[in-house]
């Protein structure tokens, strides 16, 4: 069953067509989204999570129309996201960062005690338990990205949207987040993953969508997409293709 359906979505910023008639479905697996800078990938996430309203088109989560709902409602319905440049609550502790999302982003009623236990479990899962009581401002970029994932998971999402989590990380750290996201997916959480680091996304994704100038220009398995002349042209230019 498809978890997310994006149907005929358009998003315009003045004369700039950030998204043009985007159609796709995401299921329980890992769906990669790639494309050159400015292709509209993050805009697509912003439309799905309610930060932007699409000018045309619909977004469905498990057959429920979520188009135009506020971001906090969409979060409660089961879509979590991480930011490309991590946006932690900088003056709060790592624990509080995750707890805050747990308090407000969940529909199921859990007691404070249960939530604290779950928060600790998730910090353990992403590998931040040692940093539990440190302020988020003291974390390095890798740890901040892990915190983004932890904050995403505490609300028990159906779908996790991951925005360029591997960018700016060392090769060892990239491997760490790739295996982490695979583990998240194994828990039954669908993943849509925007990535520029091909080494990471080509290994992990089952299916890939390529965006260019707001349009989907190619779709399929990583191997198929990598050989698509349209994709090569979008990345490298006319002559080489």
């Amino acid at each position: 069953m498809s978890l997310l359906k994006v149907i005929n979505c358009w998003k315009l910023f003045g004369g700039l067509k950030a998204l043009q008639n985007v159609n796709f479905e995401a299921d329980q697996g890992i769906l990669g989204i790639i494309g050159p800078n400015g292709a509209g990938k993050t805009t697509l996430f912003n439309v799905i999570t309610g930060v932007y309203k699409p000018d045309k088109g619909k977004v469905f989560l498990k057959n429920r129309d979520i188009t135009g709902l506020s971001p906090h409602t969409i979060r409660r319905l089961g879509i979590s996201r991480t930011f490309q440049i991590p946006r932690p609550f900088i003056n709060e502790t790592v624990f509080e960062n995750v707890l805050a999302a747990g308090f407000f982003g969940r529909v199921d009623k859990v007691s404070k005690k249960e939530l604290i236990e779950e928060t600790e479990k998730i910090l353990e899962f992403v590998g931040l338990i040692d940093k539990r009581d440190e302020e988020a401002s003291s974390l390095n970029i890798h740890q901040r990205k892990l915190l983004e994932i932890a904050r995403g998971l505490i609300t028990k999402p159906i779908l996790l949207l991951v925005d360029e989590i591997a960018s700016g990380l060392t090769p060892a750290e990239v491997d760490n987040v790739v295996s982490l996201i695979k583990k998240v997916n194994e828990k039954g959480i669908g993943v849509i993953w925007i990535e520029h680091v091909m080494r990471a996304i080509m290994k992990a994704a089952e299916r890939i969508i390529v965006l260019d100038y707001g349009k989907i220009i190619s779709e399929g398995s990583p191997e198929k997409v990598a050989k698509d002349p349209l994709v090569i042209r979008a990345y490298l230019g006319e002559e080489i293709a």
């Binding site: 996201r81 609550f89 999302a101 407000f104 969940r106």
Partner: protein, 323 residues
């Protein structure tokens, strides 16, 4: 420096805090019994008033990160509500000061819904106008407010000393209520959400926090206490006019008191009020030239912004200004 720091830290930040607060409260309550000087009681009463405004401001300005430059609007609104209800209907100010708070909440709701959509400096500028607009309005609604001539309230039915003591206790209760509310805030989900909004509003919203609703609630809460203290002030002063109760200086006091003590903390605005108000008043009595208190006050404000950007509480917690 480090010795004083550790000493104050022992008093304020550790678990001894409870006792220190308890002893200070007991001292405050017994002060009218210890001293027969009306001067000191009056001094503390006005200090509590400013501290209440600062504590109220801190809820939206410190915890939520929306710096309001117009909190005097709520103070003045509370003062006028109480004064009008007393003069026209003879209702007791000790009850109607709460009503003044309610009027301020309604006003804050009307103002907050559009202005809280603005961020940073834009919100500050939008709120800056609030006090001036109300000042003009109250100057010109002569039949209701007495216009520029102001309103004279009936004298309280007690002799001066009893009267000052009663107002002293009443103001202290309002002050204490505001501090206890912030204490609750500091330890509640609501307060955590506000701090998240301050740190990163988009991130808070996508984490499931209904930011628009919660920051409006914070704004209402922060409008309430200044208004109640304004209501008590009007009866205590027995005369109010739009120039005094909508004086923009009062908004500035709230901001600078909070910043010196440490905005976004429970005790910050209290500590800031005690220090700055005492210094400003002392300067005023020592040097009897007009405006000296404001000069001293401003100099301290500049020094704080440069040397203690996180305030005294932030400094004691070992936070530097650099992030």
């Amino acid at each position: 420096m480090s010795f004083t720091r550790s000493l104050i830290k022992k008093c304020l930040v550790s678990k001894n805090k409870k006792y220190v607060v308890f002893i200070l409260t007991a001292l405050t309550l017994s002060l009218p019994l210890l001293s027969s000087e009306i001067f000191y009681i009056d001094f503390l009463l006005v200090l509590f008033m400013y501290a209440t405004i600062a504590v109220g401001w801190n809820i939206i300005g410190g915890y939520t990160g929306y710096v309001s430059f117009g909190h005097v609007a709520f103070f003045g609104l509370g003062a006028y509500t109480t004064a009008i209800l007393l003069v026209r209907f003879g209702l007791s100010p000790f009850v109607t000061c709460i009503l003044g708070g309610v009027v301020a909440i309604v006003f804050a709701l009307l103002i907050g819904i559009p202005t809280l959509k603005l961020k940073g400096a834009y919100f500050a500028i939008a709120t800056l106008g609030l006090g001036f607009v109300l000042q003009l309005l109250f100057l010109n609604l002569g039949s209701l407010t007495g216009g520029g001539e102001g309103l004279s309230l009936p004298l309280p039915p007690w002799d001066i000393k009893t009267s000052v003591e009663i107002f002293y206790y009443a103001m202290f209760i309002v002050f204490l209520a505001s501090v206890l509310t912030t204490y609750w805030l500091e330890h509640s989900r609501f307060g955590l959400a506000l701090k998240c909004i301050r740190d990163d509003e988009l991130s808070a919203e996508t984490s499931g926090i209904p930011t628009a609703k919660l920051k409006t609630m914070a704004f209402l809460l922060s409008a309430f206490f200044p208004a109640v203290s304004g209501g008590l002030f009007s009866y205590y002063a027995t005369y109010i006019d739009p120039i005094t109760v909508f004086d923009p200086k009062i908004s500035m006091y709230a901001i600078v008191f909070s910043m010196l003590g440490g905005s976004g903390s429970v005790l910050g605005p209290v500590i800031g009020s005690i220090i700055l108000y005492s210094v400003a008043q002392t300067a005023r009595y020592l040097i009897t030239a007009p405006g000296v208190d404001v000069m001293v006050f401003s100099a301290i404000a500049v020094a704080v912004i440069i040397y203690l950007p996180e305030g005294i509480v932030g400094f004691l917690k070992g936070r530097s200004g650099a992030k």
